[in-house]
Structures are given as C-alpha cells and as structure tokens.
Symmetry: C4
C-alpha cells in the first residue's frame, strides 16, 4: 500500500522519472485545452453552435481533474496541508465551478473561475530548469521592496493630488465627474496607457495633463533603474538562496 502511494507520489508530484514527465506533459495539455474551451465557450457564436460539445469536453476534463485531485489528496504526506496550500486551493477551484454549474444552475456564472486553471501551469513550471531564473527575478523584486514601496506611494500621492486638481479644473462636462474617476484618469495618463475615454478639454487642464505626462515619463525610469541595479548586483551568498521545492534555506555542503 505504502509502495503504491509512494509510486503515485513520484508520478504526480515529481518529474524526474519518465512516468512523471509524461504525467506533467499530459497535465499541461489538459490544462491548456480546458482554458481554451472556457475561452471558446465565452464566444456567443461558439456557445450557440458547439455548446453541447464544449460542455461534454468540459465534463470529461473536470472528471480527470477530480481524479487527479483525489490522488493528490491520497498520496500527499499531509493531505490537509496540501488541501490548504496555494496549489491545493487552485486545484479545488479548478473542479468546483463545473459541479456547481450542474447541481446549482444559478451558479453558472462561476464557470469563468475555471480560467484559474491557468495558474496550475506554474506548478509544473516550478520543476523545469528555468525555475532558477524566476527565482532570481523574484529575489531582485524582493530586495528592492522598500524602494518599490516608496515609488508606489509617490505615484499614489501624485495621482490622488493631480486627480483632485483636474476634478476642480475640468469638472463634470469634461468627463471628470468625480474625484475617483479623475484619479482613474490620472493613473491612465501617468502609466502612458491613455485610453482617451476621458481627456482634458480646457487649456489649463491640458497644461496640467502635459506636466503629469512629462513627470510620468521621467518616473517610468525609476522602477527600471531599481530592477536593473538589483539584477546586476553580484549574486548573494548561499544563505539567501531558498530551495524552490521545500522552502528551506539552502546551506553550504560540509
């Protein structure tokens, strides 16, 4: 019995055996397939014409994912801990909406949650070799979290301030109907997205908007500078490294 559990664990949770690799590939295939099915089902044309087939495929995949979830619970060393972990919840959210849609048709809108299955890809990515790269990007972000906090609070203050100013200057007829909407406009402008659904009409408003753009343009340099300078720092010594599997610190071998 314990040998069977161990064997299933090796296949499902690890990827260094041929069976484990095959399982990972099949899982990626079904995850991507199911995400594509959710997308297709949201297209009105597709839903009307192929709805019944999409539903069938969806059911099939959900059953497969349910079996997989049961096996994971079965072979995990600490089932409750797995069920409560990030990926355990994502695995559960991947199968619940379909059953909810069947047994409680009123909850059909939950179906979109199935798109969260795309997060499951990351479980497998964890195991491939470029995990280390993701880790170094993450470390660079983590090391510069204070700088990023200062940057974000500056941006926040600027958009709240400029948003309120534009609400005073432009008023409702220019589309700036409230302060939150003006702040939304300020974020759209400062990040250089610029939809154009709200745009200043008065000369004074356009001058303030121009200043905000040039400032935003300069500020775009700050996070780039932060990330670049962090990424170019010499690699931190071993005690900064954390094992991506077990979460423990890696230590020098004696």
């Amino acid at each position: 019995m314990s040998i069977l559990r161990q064997k299933i664990y090796t296949i499902i949770f690890e990827s260094d055996t041929p069976a484990g690799k095959a399982f990972d590939l099949a899982l990626i295939f079904f995850i991507l397939l199911s995400v594509v099915l959710v997308m297709l089902d949201s297209l009105p044309d597709m839903h009307d014409r192929w709805g019944i087939w999409l539903l069938g495929a969806e059911l099939l995949i959900t059953i497969l994912f349910t079996i997989e979830y049961a096996l994971r619970l079965y072979c995990a060393r600490r089932p409750l801990r797995y069920a409560g972990s990030f990926f355990g919840i994502v695995d559960l959210l991947a199968i619940i909406p379909t059953y909810a849609g069947i047994f409680a048709p009123g909850l059909h809108f939950l179906a979109t949650i199935r798109i969260l299955r795309v997060l499951r890809i990351f479980r497998i990515l964890n195991m491939v070799q470029f995990m280390g790269e993701g880790n170094s990007l993450w470390l660079a972000l983590k090391r510069s979290r204070h700088k990023i906090a200062v940057f974000l609070s500056t941006v926040l203050t600027v958009v709240v301030f400029v948003g309120s100013l534009m609400y005073l200057i432009e008023g409702a007829e220019g589309g700036f109907t409230s302060i939150p909407k003006s702040i939304y406009w300020a974020i759209v402008t400062m990040t250089t997205v610029g939809y154009g659904d709200i745009a200043p009409k008065t000369p004074l408003g356009q001058i303030v908007a121009s200043l905000l753009m040039v400032v935003g343009y300069g500020i775009i340099a700050v996070p780039t500078g932060i990330v670049t300078s962090e990424m170019m720092r010499p690699k931190a010594p071993a005690q900064d490294e954390i094992c991506p599997c077990c979460g423990r610190k890696l230590e020098e071998q004696p």
Copy 2:
C-alpha cells in the same frame, strides 16, 4: 509644564515610543479615512444619499485635526517656524477648507483642497525605516539634475518645433486649432500616452507623427539610463548625506 510639552512633543513629532507609534497609526487612519470621505463626497450618488453623514464625519475629523494642529503649535520648539514650514502649511490647509465651507458657503469649492491631506502621510513615512530608500532615490535624481535639465530642454524644443510643424501641416480641421494645442498633442504623442482626441489625418502629418513617435521611443531610454547609472554609482561618502530632520550635513562621529 515644560515636561508636559516635552511629552506631547515626543508623542506627536517622534515615533520611537509606544505612544508615538500609536499616535502615528491613528493619524494615518484618520488621514486615509478623510481622503476617502472627500472622494466619496465627490460622487453625486453618494453626496445625495449620505451627504449629511459625510458632512458629520468630516466635521469630526476636522475637529481632531484642529486639536492636533493646536498641540503641534503648542509643543513645537519654534512655533512660527513650524507654522511656516511645508508640513505646517499642509496641516493648516487640511483644516481651513471645512471651516471656510461652513462660515462662507460660497467658498465650498475649496473643499477639494482637503485632498491635500494625503501629503500628510509623508510626514509619517519620514520616520519609518524606508526613509533611507526614498533618500537614495532622491539623491540619484539630484545628482543627475544637469542631465535631466538637458533632457527636458531637448524634449521641450522638440515638442515646440514638431507642434508648430503639425499646426502648419494639419491645420484646424484635423483638431490642430492652435500652436499650444499642437504642442499639447506633441507631448501626448512623445510620452506615448496617445489619447487619440487629436490625431493626424493627412499623410504628411502621419509621417511626421511617426517620426516623432520613433524619436520619443528612443528618447524614453535617456532618463532610464540616467537614473540607472546614478543608482548604480557607489554610495557617496558621508559629506553627501543630509539629515532629513534638520537639513544639516551628517558628519562622521569622532
């Protein structure tokens, strides 16, 4: 008496005692609450339905801020200097608009100025530990002020020149009704915001706009390069450090 003043000073202006920390947290809470109230009050729906409650909460907060302002004046070593400092003025601007709206209803439009309270957050940020990070970002900006000045004057010349050119090429029917408006368009384009409220219609105008975009695209690299190279410079020696409290240079301890 002097002991009471000293004690209040420790609570209000410093944050290394439990009471000081509690005061700072309460202050942040009320500042954020009051900013949210100002925003909600600007929403027409909210104003109509909850206007009277919002006004009440606003009055309460203003009274709290007035007491705080009075205490600051009372316990500051040089009250006039505090009143004339940046944060002293912000503290005053945080309470004046509400009273102005009550005693002179015609000045009600001043209410939006209350959003300036958001700047008060920075007083508290000053004291927490990532102050140093903000300082290093600021030093990086300050050290590269000449480069930024050259960069900004180049951008300014380009937008004035291209704006005038587009005014000649496109004319009023394309939305380029005057040179200042064309310069506004050039800034919107060069910073890659691109609202689309004004856009070139003639082939020649579109060619000039394309050139401006590619140039702006390349120029985006310059401030990034400036900030990044400044941030990666080895930390400057002590004589560059300035105390954030008193503005004096920090010196090596003997």
Copy 3:
C-alpha cells in the same frame, strides 16, 4: 564555365569586390523601389491613376529579381540547399506573387506578399560592418531567454486572469463581449498601448484596470533590466567573439 560561375558567385554572394559592392547597392535600390511600389499600389488613388505604370515597373523588377534568382541557383555551390534556406524562400516569395497575379488573376490578393522583399535587405546588411552589433544584441537576447520565458509566461497568466475577471465584471455592454476579447483588452492595457476602443465603464472595472496598469508599469522594468544586465556582462569567451576591427574570430592566446 567554372570560372564564370565563380565570378558570378563573387559578385552576387560576396561584397568585397567593387562589382560585388555595386551589385549590392543596385539590389538595395531595387528592393526599396519595389517595396515603395507595392505601398503606392495599395493607395486607391494611386492605383486608379497610375495602376498601369505601377504594374509595368513591377513586372520589370520581377523580371530582374527572376534573373537574379536564376543566377543564384546557377552559381550556388549547393543549389537545393540555397533554395531551401531562409533567404532562398524569401527570394522565391519575392517573385511568385507577380506571376501568380498574371496567370491566375484570382490570386491577386497574394500581391501583398511581395512586401516580404523588405526582408531581403537583411541579406545585404549581413555583410556590412555593423553585423557585429546585431550579433551582440542577439547574443544578449539569447543568453536571457530563460528570464524572458519566465517574464512572458507571467505576463500571459496575468492577462488571461485579468481578462477573465474583467469579462465577469464588465460584461458585454462595456465591450468585453467574450474572454478572448477581454484578454486582448488586457494586453492592450498592460503594454500601455491603450487604444480606448474597449475601456472599463463600471467603478469596479476601473479599479481592476488601474491595478493592472500600475502592475504593467512596474513589469515594464523587468525586460529592460534583463537586457541591460546582459548587455553589460563582461564579453563572453573567445569562441563567441568576432573582432570588430578585422572581422575574424578572436582566439585564445597560445
């Protein structure tokens, strides 16, 4: 015979003789001319007025390119290998559409494929001296391919997730008619392009959009950091290096 082949080879495939250089210049001229002709022909006005002249010039250029293609086949050491190579296929695609349009008028829409001729420019660029620079840019990209893969899969997950969320929040009346369309919107927003053809209307949608923008704004720093830190890495060892002075590979000193 073999001498003739060798001589033609030197002229067509190489560029270090006066004849080879003249051939390259003429080829660049005709490529650019033909690309401009294809563009002009797509303008309805031009097509109506000068269509017959444009067709004539097009025929002439196609004949020249056909002769060139035949000569390349003739003098290449391994004609089949040339025909199957990237540039061999581009050379063939440069002449087929014109003949297809003449002999099978129904295939006239293929004419736009002729624009692929612009790729032929790169054959000649290969040989000029800034080839080395392109190479170093390419190496920088190649060395950071794992980081770029992590970055792209993160971006993909974010846009799929936020796109689905916005489909739930905004629904069809806001323009978010299906999940793929919402994902398209999320890409348009996160890359800060921001057309404004689809834009959130509900307050909740605008809050989610604001978060996406600020995140996208921060993420813009990651590829910049990757490329910059790769470009500043000390030059890779000798077997990858080409001397920018003499064009020869640099070798380890004995």
Copy 4:
C-alpha cells in the same frame, strides 16, 4: 574700430563678462517672449482681439533681432562662415518671416517658421556649465550609433511586415485602407502610443496586434539597454577610444 568690433564680439559671442551675461539673459528673454507671442497669435481668440498689439510687439522684436544679426555679421571674424553656419541660418530664419509677411502678405503662412527661434536658446545653453552633460549624453548616443541603426532597421522591417499583414487581414472596413496607413498604425502600436483612430476589429487582426504589442514591449528594452550600458562605461580618456579587443587605448598612428 578693431577694438569696437572686438568689444562687441566679446559681448555677443562670449558670456564670461558681465556685459556678455546681461546680453545673454536679455536674448533669452526676447526669444522666449517672441515664441510665446507666436503661440498666442495662433489662438483665434487672441488673434482677433489683440492681433494689432501682437503684431506691434512682433515688429519690435524683429527689429531687435535684425540689429543683433547685423552686429553678429559685423563683428564675426569670418562673416560668410557665420552666415552659413547652423546658428547663422537659424538667426536669419528668425527675422525673414516677419518681413516676408509685411512685404508679401501672401507669404503670411511663413509666420510659423518664427517658432524656430526656440532653437536659438541652444546657442546660449552651449555656454552654460551643463554643456558638458549634454555632451556626455551625445557621446553615449554616438558611441552606440551602430546598435541604434540595427535596432531601427529591425523596427522598420517589423512595422512594414506587420503593417502589410494587417492590410491583408483587416482591409479597408477596419480603417486599414492602404499599406502606408497600416504601417502608420503599426508604428502607433509598437511605440505604445495607441491613438485608437485605427484599431483591429477582426479576431485574427487582434491576435496579430497582440503579438506586435508584446514584441514592441520587449523591444522597448533594447534602446534602454544600449543607452544605459553606454552611459555606465568608464569615462573614456582624452582621445575617447578604447580598443574593444585588447582594452588598450587606441593611439594615433605615428
């Protein structure tokens, strides 16, 4: 006589005497004033109400600039060389349009050329101390000109290729009425400006546009990387060049 010329030369062309500095400040004032006048005159309201005053001020400034131009010609060591230099032509273009507008009213549209006066500012900037910074930015750009050329030709090829593809996919009803217009759209998209005056409507078009955006988003990193890595290179010694092969200074051949 020669002493007078020398004295005028010192005042006009140099700025290290009190008189020279005063002259520079006065010149900057009149240049900015005249640029503002040109802008105001382009506003229909301003032109109707204050047109005669603006014309008067314009005439006065033109006369001052004419005297200055005459003095420059008079005291320059080689008057013809000055007249043919970049700044000599800009100085001439600063005064011609006003006279042309008076003596040949049909040439009134030339008036906008007066905005070129803004370029004259750079003559004075030349002399102030941050000239050196502009120089280092310029050197960074110049040293990376090969990389920038590779980058620009890649961008050009991509926009020509994607523009033509979108012309095929979207066609006239989506706003992609011709290949040049589609290329314009591709530039607007790839530089993340995104006006939204032309936007893909078909699903296939939106997929291609999404790919272009993500690619453009990654490519934005390349010029930043180029400029940053150039700006961080150790300052080159006087003769500027370091051999990329051996790291030794390149010296003049004996």
